[in-house]
């Protein structure tokens, strides 16, 4: 078996083309148990394509993907997977509880186990009062909730959610986020597609940014978020005696430098730590007046990457 045996999902050079469009371009990715992985990218970046490949809803043009070490579409592993599609299309003549029962039975769950589980899930997504209502009468947000409950009906070890919070009100989003974190504690791996940055930032452990089908960035969100161990990658410095030597040294240490006249905004290379900056300034014979670490939000990172990758592409 190739790859890491611990990974729940393992892809190698996974590629999907539709005619001239490359929807997903040589994706190498591993997803591990108990992590929430966010797949981020603008519309048409290939997020849904990646998910569908994992679920065997489409076939790869080239490359491989394994789910629990098996090829996707293997019937036995699908009982460990829950999926919420981007556009939920349901048997809308069914009542909420019947819909969950149907999916539970598709997973081979016996009736006596299923009944309490359905009650629990309807309660979890806040639809207990609507259990006898047909799905036809559901609002978009309610459909999203029942879809989420459906994805959880088989107590999955891997949860794949394509834009799960679309159509939800802020309270619904918060509730869903709490559920994610709860599931993660139980060791469930979650893949989350979204174009809502703050969503991903709040719930994900790792995030992959897709652009034109290419994975252009893969990072831990702890590195970006407000948690104490995070390291800012962006700093603002103010120096006296600015020299060309300083600029050359900084150039080596930074991905980008923006001169604001009084201040310099730096984005550090991965190899460089923020604590290296005073030494660099000193070496160049300049005087460091101020050093202000800037927390780069996912949003900053996202826009920076998307716009820079754009420059590279076109």
């Amino acid at each position: 078996m190739v790859g890491n045996m611990d990974a729940i999902i393992h892809t190698e050079q996974l590629t999907k083309r539709y005619g001239a469009t490359t929807a997903l371009d040589r994706l190498d990715l591993d997803i591990y148990p108990g992590e929430i992985f966010g797949l981020l990218g603008p519309n048409g970046a290939g997020k849904t394509t990646a998910i569908k490949l994992v679920l065997n809803l489409i076939l790869p043009t080239s490359g491989t993907v394994t789910l629990f070490g098996r090829p996707p579409g293997n019937i036995s592993i699908m009982s460990r997977v829950g999926y919420l599609p981007e556009v939920l299309s349901v048997h809308d003549y069914l009542k909420a509880s019947e819909f969950l029962r149907f999916h539970g039975q598709l997973c081979g769950i016996k009736s006596n186990l299923l009944t309490p589980r359905i009650d629990r899930l309807l309660d979890l997504v806040g639809l207990s009062a609507h259990r006898r209502q047909t799905l036809r009468s559901f609002s978009k947000g309610m459909l999203q909730r029942i879809g989420f409950a459906q994805a959880l009906i088989n107590d999955p070890q891997l949860l794949i959610l394509d834009e799960p919070t679309s159509g939800l009100d802020p309270i619904g989003r918060k509730e869903m986020r709490d559920i994610f974190l709860n599931l993660k504690e139980q060791g469930v791996a979650i893949i989350l597609n979204s174009h809502i940055l703050s969503e991903i930032e709040k719930s994900c452990d790792r995030v992959g940014i897709l652009k034109h089908g290419e994975l252009i960035h893969l990072a831990e969100t702890a590195y970006l978020s407000d948690s104490p161990d995070s390291t800012a990658r962006a700093v603002e410095i103010q120096v006296n005696n600015r020299s060309d030597a300083l600029m050359t040294l900084l150039d080596h240490a930074c991905v980008s430098i923006r001169d604001n006249g009084k201040k310099l905004s730096l984005t550090l290379k991965r190899s460089v730590d923020i604590s290296d900056i005073p030494r660099i300034v000193e070496t160049a014979g300049a005087e460091l007046v101020a050093l202000i670490p800037i927390k780069e939000t996912l949003e900053d990172l996202f826009y920076r990457l998307i716009s820079s990758a754009d420059g590279g592409k076109k």
Binding site: K52, L55, N56, L57, I58, L59, I75, S76, I77, M78, S79, V81, Y83, P85, V87, L88, S89, V90, H91, Y93, L94, E98, R101, F102, H103, Q105, L106, C107, G108, I109, K110, Q150
Partner: protein, 289 residues
């Protein structure tokens, strides 16, 4: 097994809740009403001659099976031409396909679901007609039930045919193709072709079928070798849906021993169903969402 049952139940529920099943049933009842208005009575006479009981049974069940087959086949074509394809088109199937079931199980679930709906509707019709005939003729026989179960087999085969066609073709086209295949098979399987080429001479003598005489005249006696080859080939390569129905009808009115059961008809329909299931399986395996 839980999975298949769930798939079947949800399919049947769809037709019940959308009232399609009820609408079909009401249309069927209209057929029965027409049937009940024909000359059904204990003693029937033509030109002041009392018609024998056996001929009456033959006549009534002949008409009854004609109605039942027409209704069952038309109903199953109508239902099956979009039961599979609409599920795929609406992408409802996508979610189901990510469940631990094979796509084939899903296809079979849909097919059996439609079959049950059609069978219940046709079954109600059959029972109505059965009791009508029993009440009028005062003869209780169980042979019609055997004939009816053969009709159900025929309906299942049609559903397999049309619903697998609908994976590839549009709904209307697949319904149309299914009907054509059925229509052709009906002609091929019709008594006169059978009677002429396959030596059911007693049956021919007994009914003195007019079309057979016409055909005989048309093709000349003995028929040219080319005609014989043509008929043999068409007989072998076409599904004998129509003939299966014919067998059902004959079973209803005669004792089964009196019939030469045409095993090739069963076999050909079975083979066709199997071939279409295999084609359908290939189609949905390759399908992408």
């Amino acid at each position: 097994m839980i999975q298949l049952r769930a798939l079947i139940r949800v399919t049947v529920q769809e037709y019940i809740r959308s009232k399609t099943m009820l609408a079909l049933l009401l249309i069927g009842c209209f057929f029965v009403l027409i049937f009940s208005c024909c000359g059904l009575s204990e003693s029937m006479s033509v030109n002041n001659q009392i018609v024998a009981k056996e001929s009456q049974i033959d006549l009534f069940w002949g008409v009854a099976y004609w109605i039942l087959a027409l209704y069952g086949v038309a109903g199953s074509v109508l239902l099956s031409m979009n039961c599979v394809s609409s599920e795929i088109r609406s992408r409802r199937a996508a979610l189901v396909w990510t469940r631990p079931i094979s796509r084939m199980t899903w296809l079979i679930g849909k097919i059996i679901g439609v079959w049950i709906v059609t069978a219940i509707d046709t079954g109600v019709l059959f029972l109505l007609i059965y009791f009508l005939i029993v009440a009028k003729l005062k003869i209780v026989s169980f042979f019609p039930f055997v004939g009816f179960s053969i009709l159900l087999l025929e309906i299942l085969a049609i559903i397999i045919l049309v619903s697998t066609l609908s994976i590839r073709f549009s709904d209307v086209i697949s319904g149309f193709l299914g009907s054509i295949i059925y229509g052709v098979s009906l002609v091929i399987g019709m008594d006169w072709v059978q009677a002429y080429f396959f030596q059911i001479q007693e049956y021919l003598a007994q009914t003195n079928t007019a079309p057979a005489e016409l055909l005989r005249a048309f093709l000349q006696e003995p028929p040219s070798i080319l005609w014989q080859i043509f008929f043999w080939i068409t007989y072998i390569i076409t599904p004998h849906f129509g003939n299966i129905q014919g067998i059902g009808r004959k079973l209803a009115s005669h004792s089964p021993i009196a019939l030469s059961l045409d095993w090739w008809s069963f076999l050909s329909v079975l083979l066709y169903s199997l071939i279409f299931l295999i084609i359908g399986r290939r189609e949905i395996k390759r399908m992408e969402f």
